[in-house]
């Protein structure tokens, strides 16, 4: 096959035009895998933030505010939203910092430390989402019930015999509902961040093995 032999000659002559990476460039490359996972954690957190923001904007209209006003929730809604967004932005910033830091790391020990840090940030973030939603849920509920009992008393007090037992029953149902909702949120986060955290953990174990 003269064609292939011709090619072989050409192949050799082209060796000089191959790219050449420096020691440092290669050195950095062997740590890149974790960095791309952390990059995804950052990207997902931004996407998630945008998702909730868009959902909020879509939901909020005049009716929404009217209802909220009716329940005396205006101040609480504004404050909880502002605080919620601020904390979320803070976490996005943390994720970004983690990504930058892991990108700049060039030792196994440093990388391991950063992987642990990233995992911790993600866990704190999920805890914040869960506690935050539970808290706003409970407070909103409290206001709604209070509002309800007030108006009920004013209009049809006689028909309403909300005794202690009924209150306990209602509270129990609400708490169970809330717990199920929290469970679902938790599951959702386990799914999106869990996969990435698992991979990070695998990298960590690999690094640990190398470190022995």
């Amino acid at each position: 096959m003269d064609g292939l032999d011709l090619l072989k000659k050409d192949w050799k002559s082209r060796e000089a035009s191959l790219p050449h990476l420096s020691y440092d460039e290669i050195y950095k490359m062997i740590w890149k895998k974790s960095s791309s996972i952390v990059k995804w954690i950052f990207i997902i957190s931004v996407l998630e933030f945008l998702f909730w923001a868009v959902l909020d904007i879509a939901i909020i209209d005049k009716n929404y505010w009217k209802e909220i006003e009716e329940f005396d929730l205006t101040e609480f809604t504004i404050i909880s939203n502002v605080v919620g967004y601020l904390i979320t932005l803070f976490f996005i910033f943390k994720f970004y910092r983690n990504y930058k830091r892991i990108n700049a790391t060039d030792s196994a020990a440093g990388l391991m430390k950063n992987i642990l840090k990233t995992r911790k940030t993600v866990k704190y973030y999920i805890a914040f989402v869960l506690i935050g939603s539970a808290f706003t849920g409970l407070v909103s509920l409290y206001f709604i019930i209070e509002h309800h009992s007030l108006t009920a008393e004013a209009t049809t007090a006689a028909n309403y015999d909300f005794n202690t037992l009924a209150w306990i029953k209602l509270s129990l149902i609400v708490l169970i509902g809330l717990a199920v909702l929290m469970g679902l949120i938790w599951l959702f986060y386990r799914l999106i961040y869990g996969i990435l955290l698992k991979r990070l953990n695998r990298n960590y174990q690999e690094l640990k093995k190398l470190d022995v």
Partner: protein, 164 residues
């Protein structure tokens, strides 16, 4: 200990990086994919490095691991839509470089190689690297006879592509 291993690995890879670049040249069509494949090869080599105990030469071991990486990656990609931009195939080999008939033939050969499948590319690559059948069979983990048979098939296939 770990630092030492790292240093040893990077030094070796820096010295032999041409192997990986040449594999990238056979398997990819543009600079971005070239860099991606190179990085993936580096990561796979580094992951496999603790198992490399120096019973083989670094370059021999590298041929095996790097080619396997390219083959696996290429196989995964093939499941998607596979359209090749034949203009971009020669991003490194500019058209004006081919001014006579011989060079024109070389250009056609490179085109033809791009149409081969993952294993066939590996065979051509090892052939171009002047490897004998024993080395080819060891690198790809097939028998020597099988390597010979496959190589002949590749040559026939290339001929068919060039003279349809």
């Amino acid at each position: 200990m770990n630092k030492e291993l790292e240093h040893q690995f990077v030094t070796n890879l820096e010295k032999h990086q041409n192997i990986a670049h040449k594999i990238c040249r056979i398997y990819t069509n543009d600079q971005a994919s070239h860099n991606d494949l190179f990085q993936e090869i580096t990561i796979q080599l580094w992951k496999a490095y603790p198992k490399f105990r120096g019973e083989a030469k670094f370059s021999t071991w590298m041929y095996r691991v790097a080619l396997n990486t390219a083959i696996t990656l290429y196989r995964k990609k093939k499941r998607g839509i596979q359209t090749q931009d034949y203009e971009s195939v020669h991003f490194k080999i500019k058209a004006e470089e081919y001014d006579d008939e011989e060079e024109q033939q070389i250009k056609l050969m490179y085109d033809a190689i791009k149409e081969l499948n993952d294993i066939e590319k590996a065979l051509v690559f090892l052939y171009l690297e002047d490897k004998n059948y024993k080395e080819i069979s060891e690198t790809l983990g097939i028998s020597e006879v099988n390597a010979r048979v496959k190589m002949n098939r590749v040559k026939t296939k290339l001929r068919t592509i060039l003279n349809p």
